[in-house]
Amino acid sequence: MVDDGRGTGMGVGQVGETTGRHLVMFATDGVKDGMKALGELGVEPVRASAMGEDADREAPILFDKLGVAVVDAPPEQLMAAAGGPSDSGPILAIEPERVVYALETEPALRPWEAQDGVGGGRSADYLRGYRDAVLHLTGDLGAPAAAAEAGPAAGPIDETQTTWGLQAVKAMNSCYTGKGIRVAVLDTGFDMTHPDFAGRTLQSRSFIPGQQAQDGHGHGTHCIGTAAGSRCPATRPRYGVAVDAEIYAGKVLSNSGSGTDSQILGGINWAIQNRCVVISMSLGAPSSVGQRPSAIFEHVASRAASAGSLIIAAAGNDSARPNRVSPVSHPANCPSILAVAAVNSSLGIAPFSNRGINPGGGQIDLAGPGVDVYSSWPMPRRYRRLQGTSMATPHAAGVAALHAEADPAARGMALASRLASSAQRLTALASADVGAGLVQAP
């Protein structure tokens, strides 16, 4: 559908200031045809994956992995060129790009508060158009990482009611809870005795021979807490994004934290069978520079997306910025799997977070809160703070569940496009580090 900015369109949240540019969402197999239609209009987006420092900074951008292009043309013209958005054509939707805010805020005003306009007035210097964001997205590919590390100074964070991560992705402001949406978390299992989850719909299955789905490590319980933890935990703060989602806890990693591709694929197969709309995988193996993604995982992820199950995976923690940045891990490096990077509470890139370096799908797609993340931990400890792209991933998965509830048509790669188009651009950071930006609840 087309949203000309006057109505509430295919939801990127509140319709605020728009930039004049438009987001064009392509059907899963419609990127080529959609690009051709845009080309006939004289609009030829640059592929984000092909951009370097010499890229034309004024050119429109195509995020081909996500099936989204950002173009500077009137929507009527775009519609005419494409024959209008439709379920069967290459173009699914055209919508205005929102104005986004730069991250520099007054010290006491944190970025997510600034965007919401709560907690104080808007400072004069943080309003910028999407155009600026585009310039950063194009210009920062291949730029030195130094600027990316320097986020604004962290102010005191009030986590008495909700974690900083939930505030940053605006889970609190959403009227969606993931109700009716099945979220699979493929990890070390789950602590079935955790009191915060009493009464929740939870299915579990172990793919580790000789081990029950009960979490003997803790990692899985932490990730499930972030993706789908309770609205009202025993003690505050709230730490779960999709509080009403149906949890599918697949144990594909043993109590000692190890798992094989076979076991992971078994978990993915189970999640597809159970029509899980989101499959969250906070796991991976380091990849080397120049390494291509696994053809088999791509085959599976593509089939999963076609069946309505979107796989979201951790980008990996192999970097030690600023000295070393490592490429996105297996299997997050597959084109049909969303790779999630980690940011801190100042919305700076986490020093361990991997970067989009390798070809063939190895870019970062999105970012999520991944430093100092408070969530559930197996009893008796009950809660714990951790950091890692493992923690950023379930934030993205929970947000994906909210979007899936908001739009029943958003499944598979259409859900991926929605996550990308609604993300908060992180203008101080390179898209090679954070992709389309910080995931945002609808």
Partner: protein
């Protein structure tokens, strides 16, 4: 594939993807794979994959040559840090 360089004198866990035109017959294909040397084949129908073990590189080659096989990869291992680690 980067994992093809692994030593293959020992049994290997492998992943076998199935081409689109053989997906409806994936169970029959699994039988053919077993005949070719794929031990304990597990059919993952939704994923379009059969997993199992092969004894050596010769069996790996035999499995790869079965009609309907799209690709074969040696199963990798992922490893989380220990629970007490702060970075996960």
């Amino acid at each position: 594939m980067p994992n093809e360089d692994l030593p293959t004198s020992e049994p290997m866990e492998v992943l076998v993807s199935v081409s689109a035109d053989h997906l409806t017959g994936i169970r029959e294909l699994a039988s053919a794979l077993r005949d070719a040397g794929l031990e304990e084949p597990q059919v993952l129908g939704e994923a379009g994959v059969v997993t199992g073990r092969v004894a050596d590189r010769r069996a790996l080659a035999a499995v790869r040559s079965v009609e309907g096989v799209q690709g074969v990869e040696v199963s990798r291992t992922v490893q989380l840090p220990p629970p007490e680690a702060d970075l996960q």
